[in-house]
């Protein structure tokens, strides 16, 4: 065994923080010092010198192995203090919304940056042209992950420069081991899925007819002898026959449309195999994985194959390494959100009195209540779809050469190539394929995204006198990103095959797009540790980005940090096994739109080609800003890591203050100037202040082990200043959330609901919906235009998040429970007024509350106003009635496993077998009794992107609950 290696490993164990050690103990694999790799950032810079200086958390690989989640970022949910996770859709492959220490920018994705083996792969935001949301991280198989470090403060993220301001997630994949006989691992997992949390109750057929009759009666009581007469009238005119004539309801149909579009069984299968080993100088790891997901909705699916290889070679002075990863995804899905083709949305709106099939066995297309003719969701799901084949290659190679003693040269070349083939097919006569002439449409898009970066650095690392540990780095990096896409559209299909060749060429359209941006950076870093006790660290960098204004492409950024390893001092009592006090401050440039495509050319206003009928035309397309410059994230972080009683009790506390100054946002252009309505400019300041704590303890550590770990964080996210918007800027979610100086980012700013009139307001009719005229709550009105909006002091971003994990181990058994909680935030249903329209439209289904919880003379204590057909009351419009508290506690994961250990090694050569059962999103407690949808869902990218999507439920595929059984075999 190489002595140097062992020492280094012990050093790493000892100094890289209690968090790492605690995580290691939780892992199922036996602990071997040689598993631990230092976390290496860009440019060969190691995450921390001898001791922890920055603020970061490490998540061990045990959390990623054998998971039914389709992408890496989902696993991080609740496991990292200060990280808030929510999903854009339960559809596998949907992109997610993650914030670390709040939202720091007003545009672009708030997600942190992902770095995989040194390759910067972006922020998990959408690359797709046709599909609603495609998460590039879904290409990474979670099983190949060795460790994940979540970097949170300036000192940690500074090395990533301009893209690290939201935090950085550094992912290291598994490598081979030197001097190790080849070890194989095979695992498989099978999981069943259901909707995690859905308390929306819908009217059944007879209830729907009751409700329709009630609404008609309330609209015109004098026209009917009784309520029953109105119900009869509604029932007698509910159907439409094949000739388009109005006929009565057939008396027996009671369709559960939701059930009709769901599979009987929705499941996920995962298979994984890997081999790792190595000789004295070379090590390797090869892996392959197959993931198959049959989601809830019929005829949708997600398959993924991935292969990865890691090869490392070392000699005395040189280290070489190569990491390659190839993934192929096949995804079959559907249009999202408020589109009639969205099965979730339409199935819920279709009144239950309409049958799925006609009497002749064909799909019922014309008798659907008028509103959604031809959108029979079962028919739509059987014929129409969106599909994507996505291939991703990520590869990186590095060389580390000690060319002179203590002088190292490091070079890394990383690349990512993604090819997406997407299509959208609507069959003639079904759904969207019907309303165009000639019928049937096909849209195809081929997109290629290529990112590559090359960084070179020189470093000097030496320990003088055994006391002075000095590291100096100097380097430069070049990165280039290109996206090309080619789109085609054709209509008119007589043969129903989804290929362009079958369409009518008279109705063909083509288009293409091209975006490119690049960045040149120079960076330097200095780390100095004295006597293993005191460390200072500093960085200076210069970044230049091509997407900024003509005058402002360069920026100079820096950070400084210090830490004091108190445990090495003499005066500390021995109960402390670890005590590190650290602080850092940095100013890092950021370009918030850098990770999405479309806004790469902002230097000047420009025109673009378009057409008028069949002639070419030119119109203005971008309003430019030559003064667009870097937004700067300034972050101060002070932290304390401690361990007591020899590691029995450990944790850390971080306090931070993060300010984004000159935040880039759409600066509004007056309508009167024509052209685009905004351009990008530096017009805002945002702050995030908070505390994070991680605590872990081992009450029992003998043969029976009990580990408890919890994280808790508080963050307040305020827009300090927003130029040019004197009045609050209404954004996102039915204009209920707004941006304004001095208020929470995305704070709810809406009308205060005052209940249903039972006489409180004698001047207005009974049963009408009331709004407070202003925040003093002194007068009410039922005309919402006469009321003023009021700030609600709550936003869709939770102020408090927590995670709690308890693990029991006894002999080979392991039981773990993991809870997450998000508190003090609000959510609402984007389509509330469709689902509770108070009678405005009586031809669609409604939530059961419309019948049972709406005002009638017999039910005066109701939440919702009187239902009136063609209603005039504005009780159906957005107000605080729509807002729900999102506070919840969720049993995120429960797992019971049993490992045989190496008892079978002699007999069949198996080193270990582990069997487990696992459940995710099993249970949720919602503090708001009226919350009937999952508070973790976000709006689809068709409606909103970036922070605006948070906390909006818009009938995208809901968040899922899974039960799985699996096995892992090592041999």
């Amino acid at each position: 065994m190489n002595v140097k290696l062992r020492l280094l490993s012990v050093g790493v164990l000892f100094f890289t923080g209690q968090a790492l050690m605690a995580q290691k103990k939780k892992s199922d694999t036996t602990t071997k010092t040689k598993d631990i790799e230092e976390v290496v950032l860009v440019g060969g810079v190691k995450l921390d010198p001898a001791q922890k200086v920055g603020s970061y958390n490490v998540v061990s690989k045990a959390n990623f192995e054998s998971t039914p989640f389709s992408s890496v970022d989902e696993v991080l949910n609740g496991r990292v203090a200060g990280l808030t996770f929510s999903s854009n859709g339960g559809d596998p492959g949907s992109s997610n919304l993650i914030t670390i220490r709040g939202v720091g920018s007003l545009i672009g994705t708030p997600n942190p940056l992902y770095v995989i083996d040194g390759v910067v792969v972006g922020k998990g935001s959408d690359n797709a042209s046709i599909m609603a949301s495609w998460n590039p991280l879904a290409s990474i198989d979670p099983n190949q992950i060795e460790s994940v470090s979540v970097l949170k403060d300036a000192s940690a993220t500074a090395i990533y420069g301009s893209r690290g301001a939201n935090g950085v997630i550094v992912i290291t994949t598994k490598k081979g081991k030197y001097n190790q006989k080849t070890a194989y691992t095979f695992s498989s997992d099978m999981a069943f899925q259901e909707v995690a949390f859905d308390k929306q109750k819908w009217l059944n057929a007879s209830e729907y007819l009751q409700w329709g009759g009630l609404a008609k009666y309330n609209a015109n009581p004098s026209a009917y002898s009784s309520l029953g007469a109105a119900v009869t009238d509604f029932t007698n005119t509910a159907f439409v026959n094949e000739n388009g004539e109005v006929t009565p309801y057939d008396g027996y149909t009671n369709t559960d449309w939701k059930k009709a579009i769901m599979r009987n069984q929705s499941y996920v299968n995962t298979y994984n195999i890997s081999a790792a080993g190595g000789g004295e100088n070379t090590s390797f790891r090869l892996g392959a994985n197959y993931y198959q997901n049959k989601p809830l909705v019929i005829n949708s699916g997600f398959d993924r194959y991935s292969f990865n290889a890691a090869i490392n070679h070392k000699t005395e002075k040189v280290k070489l390494g190569f990491d390659g990863n190839f993934t192929s995804v096949n995804r079959n899905t559907f249009l999202d959100t408020g589109y009639s083709s969205n099965p979730w949305f339409t199935a819920l709106r279709l009144a239950p009195i309409y049958p799925v099939y006609n009497s002749d066995g064909g799909y019922n297309m014309g008798n659907l209540g008028g509103v959604t003719s031809f959108y029979n969701p079962v028919a739509v799901r059987k014929s129409n779809y969106e599909a994507g084949q996505i291939q991703t290659w990520i590869a990186s190679a590095f060389a580390d050469y000690e060319f002179v003693k203590n002088w190292y040269f490091y070079s890394l070349f990383g690349s990512q190539y993604q090819a997406l083939d997407e299509m959208h097919w609507d069959q003639p006569g079904v759904g969207d394929g019907t309303f165009i002439e000639p019928q049937g449409q096909l849209q195809k898009s081929t997109t290629k995204v290529f990112d590559w970066n090359w960084s070179n650095s020189i470093s000097y690392r030496k320990v003088f006198d055994k006391r002075h540990d000095l590291q100096v780095y100097l380097g430069m990096e070049y990165q280039e990103h290109t996206r090309k896409s080619f789109d085609s559209y054709i209509r008119g299909f007589e043969v129903y095959k989804p290929y362009l060749s079958y369409g009518n060429p008279d109705f063909a359209q083509v288009g293409d797009s091209f975006y490119k941006w690049l960045q040149i950076s120079y960076f330097s870093r200095l780390n100095y540790t004295f006597n293993n006790k005191y460390t200072i660290s500093g960085q200076l960098r210069r970044d230049s980005n091509s997407t900024l204004g003509a005058n402002e492409k360069n920026g100079i950024f820096w950070s400084a940090a210090a830490s004091w390893n108190i445990v090495n001092e003499n005066f500390l009592p021995s109960i402390f096994s670890e005590l590190v006090l650290r602080g850092s401050y940095g100013e890092i440039g950021n370009i918030p739109y850098a990770d999405s495509w479309g806004q790469q050319y902002n230097q000047f206003s420009s025109v673009a080609p378009t057409n008028y009928a069949d002639q070419n035309a030119t119109t203005i397309s971008v309003a430019g800003n030559p003064d667009l410059k870097w937004e700067v994230a300034k972050q101060l972080n002070i932290g304390l890591d401690f361990g007591l009683f020899n590691g029995k009790f450990s944790g850390s506390i971080d306090v931070y203050n993060k300010k984004t100054s000159d935040a880039i946002f759409q600066s509004p252009i007056s309508y009167q100037n024509g052209g685009p309505n905004s351009y990008l400019a530096n017009i805002a300041d945002i702050s995030n202040k908070g505390i994070e704590t991680v605590l872990s303890t081992k009450p029992f550590n003998g043969e029976f082990k009990w580990l408890i770990e919890g994280n808790f964080s508080y963050n307040k996210n305020i827009v300090d200043n927003l130029k040019y918007y004197d009045e609050p800027l209404l954004k996102s979610g039915n204009n209920m959330r707004a941006l304004a100086s001095g208020h929470l980012l995305g704070e709810y700013y809406t009308f205060d609901w005052a209940g249903v009139n039972n006489g409180q307001n004698p001047n207005l009719p009974l049963g009408t919906g009331l709004f407070w005229t202003d925040e003093t709550h002194t007068a009410t009105t039922n005309d919402r235009t006469k009321a003023k909006r009021v700030w609600q002091d709550v936003s869709p971003f939770p102020k408090y998040t927590a995670g709690f994990r308890s693990e029991f181990r006894y002999k080979g058994f392991n039981l773990s429970l993991f809870f997450t909680g998000q508190f003090d935030y609000a959510v609402h249903n984007l389509y509330q007024n469709y689902m509770m329209n108070m009678g405005s439209s009586t031809n669609v289904n409604q939530l059961a509350d419309a019948l049972y919880d709406s005002w009638t003379p017999q039910n005066t204590d109701a939440t919702y106003p009187m239902q009136i057909a063609g209603n005039a009351t504005q009780g159906g419009f957005p107000s605080t009635l729509w807002m729900r508290k999102g506070d919840h506690i969720r049993l995120k994961e429960a797992k019971l496993s049993y490992s045989l250990g190496n008892t079978l090694k002699e007999s069949i050569g198996v080193t270990n077998i582990t069997l487990y059962i696992k459940g995710t999103n099993l249970w949720m407690y919602a503090f708001d009794k009226k919350l009937n949808f999952d508070p973790e869902s976000n709006a689809s990218v068709y409606n909103y992107s970036g922070w605006e999507a948070k906390g909006l439920f818009d009938y995208t595929t809901p968040v899922l609950k899974t039960f799985s059984i699996g096995t892992i075999i090592d041999f």
Binding site: T237, V246, G370, F403, V404, K405, W407, F435, E437, N456, I458, L474, G475, M476, Y478, D506, Q509, D512, S513, F514, L518, I520, Y522, S544, N545, S546, A550, K553, Y601, S605, S606, V607, A608, P609, N611, Y612, A613, A617, T618, T619, I620, V622, P668, S670, Q672, N673, G674, G675, N677, Y679, Y725, D726, E727, N833, S840, S841, T842, A869, G870, A872
Partner: protein, 480 residues
């Protein structure tokens, strides 16, 4: 030692020479070009002029909104209870600066900005072709300003709040401008100047295009007759008559009124696009093709036609039933079937918009200006000048054309009634009532704002909250 230093220095040198030059950072878009490079040749200018029509075809502006809102904001039409949620605010007149269905303000100024790119160009030498292009752009600009005034400003004859016109956009594009309103009078002068100078510029050597999807001197004259009729200052009604006469008597043969009932019915409700697109009755239309159209969620046909995707706009019984029963009237054939029974009383669809023709769905051109308007403008102007006998003669002529019994007397109600029958479902009624200082009185299918007097704030559409919020120089119309 020196060896080490050499190593270090040479590697350092490699590091920095490997660095790239910063010229690479000046990336220009590949698809598209800077605004200053937009017009270098006459053909470039034609493409930008086509862009004016691209902007006009936007559904939030001329492409659909005009044809819909003009009828919803009146006693003509309402949104049925069986609806998809579109235009409820407009139908109930419950719009506000913050919340409304209206996007015209933004859309019209987009048209104006495109037109200004042509008119304001100084690079090209002003050949006949360039002058013709600029003139055509002027007509589009004037039309946009006129509709802006008609929606967002009070009637010029009311004498009230006349300082609340709309801002006039400078010809050079500057996204940072925060313009203040001009007075109603100033904008009218600007409009008239544009139209008159366009006519003068185009009259010499001008060849009329083959189709009606471009603006022409005939369109300019027709617009002028309506502009003068609306403004109603001293001498204006005569000018309205003069321009109307010009249109009626001096237009090329491709512009002419329909002469028989079958063609009239087919002009609106035929399933063959040959009967609808590019007809002589049309003075200006927005071109729609099978591929280029506002689509099933925005085209007027989707709301007006009883087989449209949304089929939600219905006309009141009190208007449609008498029209339907008067079978000799050409327009009675355009009354459609009864609408949803969820309305009490039921409304009627109109047959003026057809969803499907041989060209496809929603491919019928959007007719904005029609030859027949010249006749009606003339009648109204003559009546307002006090020339009642002459007005009655022309009214009778028109009634005879349309197969109606001739009126024995004339009144403003009769004139507007004729206009109502002629132009229902084409977005004229709101403007007709506003121009004449008349209230909107909805006698059925209405639960709020059923009687809106002419001086009610609802008659003037409020400037969107977005604009008020970011532009300190603009003042909202009083009452909003």
């Amino acid at each position: 030692m020196t060896k080490k230093i050499i190593y270090i220095l040479s590697l350092g040198a490699i590091l920095f020479t490997a660095s790239c030059s910063e010229e690479r950072l000046q990336l220009l878009p590949e698809i598209g070009s800077p605004l200053e490079e937009a017009i270098n040749t006459e053909n470039d200018m034609r493409l930008v002029l086509n862009g004016v029509y691209t902007q006009m075809s936007s559904s939030t502006g001329f492409g659909a909104a005009i044809s819909i809102f003009g009828d919803l904001l009146s006693d003509n039409a309402f949104v049925s209870t069986a609806n998809d949620g579109y235009f409820l605010n407009t139908s109930r007149m419950s719009y506000s600066p913050e919340i409304s269905d209206f996007g015209m303000y933004d859309s019209f100024y987009d048209v104006i900005q495109q037109a200004n790119m042509v008119i304001g160009d100084r690079k090209l030498k002003e050949s006949k072709t360039v002058l013709n292009y600029k003139a055509e752009a002027k007509i589009a600009r004037a039309m946009s300003y006129f509709y802006l005034l008609c929606f967002y400003s009070p009637d010029p004859k009311s004498g009230v709040n006349q300082e609340y016109g709309v801002p006039i956009q400078p010809e050079e594009y500057n996204p940072n401008n925060k313009l203040a309103r001009s007075s109603v009078n100033e904008v009218y002068n600007y409009i008239i100047n544009d139209l008159v100078s366009a006519i003068n510029q185009l009259s010499n050597d001008y060849t009329y295009p083959e189709n009606k999807s471009c603006l022409t001197p005939v369109a300019a004259k027709l617009l002028l007759s309506r502009v003068y009729l609306t403004r109603g200052s001293s001498g204006d009604y005569q000018k309205a008559v003069d321009y109307a006469n010009d249109v009626i008597n001096k237009s090329p043969i491709s512009f002419a009124a329909i002469t028989n009932k079958t063609s009239y019915t087919n002009y609106f409700s035929s399933s063959s696009s040959d009967n609808i697109d590019n007809k002589s009755e049309t003075v200006f239309e927005i071109e729609q093709t099978a591929i280029f159209n506002t689509g099933g969620n925005a085209h007027p046909a989707t709301f007006y036609a009883n087989n449209g995707s949304h089929k939600s706009i219905l006309f009141r019984q009190s208007f449609m039933v008498p029209l339907k029963n008067n079978t000799s009237d050409w327009r009675s054939s355009l009354v459609g079937v009864l609408g949803s029974n969820q309305d009490t009383p039921q409304g009627y669809f109109s047959k003026k918009w057809v969803r499907t023709t041989n060209e496809g769905n929603y491919a019928t051109n959007i007719r904005l200006l029609r030859f027949s308007e010249a006749y009606l403008n003339r009648i109204e102007a003559l009546f307002k000048m006090g020339q009642t006998p002459q007005a009655l003669i022309f009214l009778n002529e028109f009634e005879q054309r349309r197969g109606e019994t001739l009126s024995s007397t004339i009144s403003i109600e009769k004139i507007l009634d004729e206009r109502r029958k002629e132009f229902f479902a084409e977005g004229y009624r709101y403007f007709d009532l506003k121009r004449n200082g008349l209230p909107i009185i909805k006698d059925s299918n209405c639960d709020t704002n059923c009687n809106v007097p002419a001086n009610n704030r609802l008659m003037v559409i409020p400037i969107p909250y977005y604009e008020i919020n970011i532009n300190p120089n603009i003042k909202q119309y009083p009452g909003w």
